[in-house]
Amino acid sequence: MKRLEVWLYHLCRLILAAVFIYAGSVKMNDVVAFAGHVAAYQLLPYSSNYLVAVTLPYVEFLVGMLLLLNSRVRPALLTIGGMTLVFMLALVLVLLRDLNIDCGCFDPGGGQGVSAWGALLRDVGLMVLVVLCWWLRTRTSDGESAER
C-alpha cells in the first residue's frame, strides 16, 4: 500500500513536471507570439499582455524543474494550483463571452489547438493531479524528519 502510494506520487509529480517544463519552454521561445495569445483573451490592456508573457513561462518552467528534481514540491504544487485556477477562470470568461481563440496553453506558433472547453477539461485534469500529488506528498513524507 505504502509502496503504491510512493509510486503514484512520483508518477503525478513527473507528469506535472513534464507538462509545465514543456509549456514553459515553448512559450519562452516566442514571448511576443505568446503575448498575442494573452491579448486574445481581451482581459488586460495592450502593454500588460507583454508583462504576463515575459513572466508566466519562466514561472511555469521553474515549478516544472522543481517537481522534476523532487525539491520544494509543495510550494511548486501550490503555484501550479494557483496558476491553473487563474487559467480556468480566464477560459470560463472566454466561454461566457463566446470568443473563438486559441488557448495559448502550449506552443504559441502552432495554430488553432484545442477549444476552450478542451483546455478547461485539461486544466481540471491538472488540478486533480495537483491535489493528488499534494496529498500523497503529505502522506509519504509523514514520519520523515526533513522534507525537502
Binding site: V32, Y46, N49, Y50, L56, Y58, F61, L62, L78, T79
Partner: protein
Amino acid sequence: MFADLKRILPETCVLIALGCLFGLTINHQLVLDAFSGRLTAQPSAIAEESGLAALPMPAMLDEVRQLVASGGIVVDARSPDLYTLGHISGAVSLPMAEIEVSLPDFVQQVAKERTIVTYCSGFGCPDSFDLGVLLLEAGYRDVRVFEGGFPEWRDAGLPVGGGEQ
C-alpha cells in the same frame, strides 16, 4: 495536510518572485519597449529584400489618433475575415494575402501625398510592416506602421468598426 502551510506559503511567494524576476531580466528590453510604445513591427523577408532607402516609420497610438484626425488613411493589412469581425473605425481593408489584386485599385484612388498608417494584429505580426514597404515602393511618401495594431486600439476603447466579436 496543511500543517506546513506557514512554511510553504513564503516559499511559494519566493518561487513565483524568482520566476518573474528571471523572465523580466531576460526580456527587460522587450518590456521597456512595449511600455514606452517604442516597439516596432518586425521587418520580414519582404522588407529586407526591398532595398529601400527609407523604411516605414513606426507610429504610436497617440500619433495614430492625431494622424487620423488630420486626414491620414488607416489601412488594415489583416485578412478580410478579421477585418469584418472588427477594425479601426474608418480603416480601409488591404489584406497582405491578396495584395497584388487590391493594391492597384488603392493606388488609383488614394493620392501619393496622403499620410498612410498600416496596422495588423499587433504583437510582432509582420504584415503591417511589409504592407508599409510595398506602399513606399508604390510611391507613397509618408507611411507609418502602427505596431500595436487592432488589439491596442480596441483595448484603448477607441472607435471600432465592423461586427461583434
